[in-house]
Amino acid sequence: MDIQQAAAIFERHHLVVFRFLRRATGDTSSAEDLTQDVFLRVVRGLDRYEDRLRERAWVFRIARNVLLDRHRRIGRAGLDLSLEAARHVAVEGSQASSVALQEALDSLREEEREAFLLREVAGLGYEEIGPIVEATPDAVRMRIYRARSALRACLGGDAGTGARASKGTVR
């Protein structure tokens, strides 16, 4: 195992992985713990990893697995973001208005939230997200679209006010 190589991968991806997990869990401490787990698995899997062109997708596949393991460990009930946790994330981010966004994200179905976050936070394309979430690119396209529609409705009440509400409240 090349520790320098692992350190370089950590440098390149840890912030995005942390933000992805923070949005997915709604909790900074959990996101830190999970991010640590992700890169521990990255280090362990480094010798077997060959497709360097898809490094980011590989890292996020691990991140998603770590997230799923957490789901299995603590159960869905433990994942439900409390208002307090949402506020915690928002205040730490110095953006009180992002409480609404975090709550809206938490209201999404799991498969829609993860596809949306892999697209918007990780910046992955549909073709890259598909294998990670075990779905076809078309399914990913629909999940992301449904997530966006739900977020608009959640943040604005309906499609029309969604635009206006997001101007004022979503940052």
Binding site: I3, Y145, A159, G160
Partner: protein, 125 residues
């Protein structure tokens, strides 16, 4: 509106008629604006892990490589000791079986007996 969502993502849009239809209505154009705003809102998160996280990660990430070398060396050393101990015990066993002295000739492992008149004859040429 799914086609607009894909458009915002820079994904391939094959059905241009559907795209044109979606863009022709105000709702479609509003949707694009909202999708872009949502992206900006999500990506506005510039949070970073706390300092303690980095210290913990450093120790955890460096631990496997830091401990692996001594662990391998310990295993190799243990294997060498085991081989040497086994060889020593075997050698000691041989010595004890041979009477405890290395100067004595080894005991025969097989004894061949020849009886005169049976196995050999003195007058036969």
């Amino acid at each position: 509106m799914a086609v607009l969502s894909a458009l915002v993502d820079g994904e391939e849009v094959n059905d241009l008629a559907l795209l044109a239809e979606a863009l022709s209505v105000a709702e479609g154009r509003d949707a694009i604006l909202d999708f872009v705003r949502l992206r900006a809102a999500v990506r506005a998160d510039q949070s970073r892990p706390r300092a303690a996280f980095y210290e913990k990660v450093r120790s955890v990430l460096e631990a496997p490589s830091g401990r692996s070398a001594p662990r391998v060396l310990r295993r190799i050393a243990a294997a060498v000791v085991l081989v040497l101990a086994t060889a020593g015990l075997v050698d000691l066993g041989w010595r004890l079986r041979d009477g405890g002295s290395a100067e004595q000739p080894p005991r025969p492992t097989r004894v061949l007996r020849f009886e005169p008149g049976v196995d050999w004859h003195a007058n036969v040429r």
